[in-house]
Amino acid sequence: MSRRLIAFVLTTSLLAGCRPVTTVGKLDARLTSAPNAQDLAALAQEARNAAQQATDPKDRVAYYRIAAVAAWHAGAPGKAAVLPISAAGAAACDALPAKDMTAPRDCSLIRLAAPLAVQDDLARDLITLQHQLPGTPGAKLPAADFARLQKLFTQFETQFDQVAAIRAGLAHLDVRPELTVGTDRRWLIIYCNAVKAWSLSGDVEDVPMAEFSDMAQRKKTMSERLEAHGVTNDCRTITATQTAGTDL
């Protein structure tokens, strides 16, 4: 292992860096013009490429934010890219001089994209299961679905935790109130979807009560965390299982 070679590689990589051919503003405009899913997925790739070529660290983060949000909003066509982009973007944020404080909105959205995209994917699975429950009174799902619902609940809970951590960070960042309000709304949606998964798990044959009660306790813990942050934990305001939306 030669230190000279390490230095050589690093130096040349810096010297050889190329400026992206596009700009943050242009890509942002495309992001907000509500293109279709395929266009969003393409935009995510384009922005990711721009991020990799960007020499200015703040620009790099801005490109990653566009890429992450576009991949998330693209839904199915973008879902293969959203986690890698979010992870690369988070690393770019960590490399900023004052980390997320240098680009608070961009970094917050980069970090939110992953759990919100996963939540959307989970919500689609939940809807599928909800539709499998026969409409007749007293109808039950097969016992085997309990494990699926339990897993869904746990995965919603994981996304809830991840958004909670990002939400806590917002308090220390200079971000517009709309971002915090929007984050809280999505935090509540994740919670409500977890509640729906738990509730549906009570509609399977031979519910294992110990595990059902365990989920109930965990649901309560989530509810208390929402309350502690001043978020009304009323799922009646969430009319149906829904994905996290794209208006952040």
Binding site: M1, F8, V9, S13, A16, A81, P84, D121
Partner: protein, 521 residues
Amino acid sequence: MTAVQLRADDAAKKHEASAERGIEVGGALMIQQWADGKGPVGAMGRMVLSLTDIALEFVGANPSLLGIGGDGEKLVAALAANLSEMIPDDAEDFGGKSQLAERFVGIMLRAGLKTLNDQPDWVVRTTDLQQLVKHTLPPLIAALPEKLSEQSQWRDVADALLGPAASAAMATVAANPSAFLGATFDPHRAMGALTQAMLREACRTGLKQQFTETGFVALYTATLGVAAERPELFVGRPGTPTEQLAVDLFGEVAGALKASPPPFDKDLGAHLAVAVLDAVKDNGLNFLDASAPWESAVGAMALQVVDGLKVALTDPATGGIKSVFTQRQLLEFARIFLAQAAKTPAMIAGGNMELQAIVGGVAAAMSQDKDLLLTPDDWLTIAAVAVEEGAANPQRLFPTAAGSLGVGAELLKDLLAVATAECGGGRNAGGVLFGVTLREAMVLALRTAAGNVKAAAEYQAALKDLAKTLSEFVRGHPNQYGSEQWLVLYRHLIPRVLQGGAMGTLTKRQINTILGRGAST
């Protein structure tokens, strides 16, 4: 850096160029990716940059680690040798696996360099590290699930566990150099399978619901120890290849312990399974139920001990032994029984419930110690004697017959009852039957009765009376007799009671004779 090394190695292998020339060519190719302005850096380049960053972090603080022949250099070389296998098909699209590969390689390098730096005395071979990387990282990258939610989970779990796992694996390689030389079955393959199995199980159950990171890493480390010491256990069977065996091992342990009473349903249960795995490593499979695959028997074995403790853990009326023991002591308590079972496999073979009966008997006595007359360490000593005597004298002190705790447990409870009554007056009353004295009395009772349980059962009341009589006597003569004399008298008089029943009245003269003080003292 590693890509350069790889290109150099590949070229040298093909006799296309010397390794040195390969480095130059590889470096040039790599730089070309950026210099042409063709677009983003390729997968290999990204990985190289990531590795270079991490290596540079360590070069500053630990120059010798990455010096020529240093362990760090060997690790980098090991990663380099496997780099091409870790670049997935979706690399050029910056796909999930590609990004995951960079991430995993980074985690392993960082954890590995830190571990090697913390253990400068270790001598690890490049080939071992190469094999370790080869059998660990590429399968993990390839196993990235399709579904987004599962991908997210896979990443989270790997972020939490892969670093500690890499450290544990390197520690195992360094601690067992001979295990990895010339084995019929390559233990590296088992290590790779175990790494993947642990991550899969953590994905399945999460890192909060049952085992945390600590529990998983403890289990994983113990399984690595078994793989290094007894690699033949991981050869697999028809229909159960190594990889499936590893998955079953983690799954069965988690499944068996999931329904255990708290706190064994969480990390403490994992640590108990670690004790079983350590016993497998040291003693082989003799003590496990041969009717089931060994990977299933590990969890079942841990469960036998937990079942023995169940009443004492869950009965609110007894106060529960949880209030006596810390979690560490509770684990130590369970380990004592497991260690004896490993030495005496017949205790649990063929569904024999002897171990469970002994655990249950001691735990039942413990739960009567509401005044905490004995310390947790005292109870650990008593447990060790109980299981030793129980193992040496089957079906005597702690029989498996339903409806009875056995004379062993009854003797312990009687002594506790006498001690509790005696100590009711507090220290000013002058009683001595507590703490070390009580502990030694219990040890004496168990050891003596083990060889004559018929008499112990028949004269159980007389034995209790003996303890009571001695306690009253010593308490009544605080200036002449104390704890030591109580124990000498008890040791001397137990056999007499077992031979002939009640002692009747003890005179001071008789007592002094026994104590060798002369009748007139």
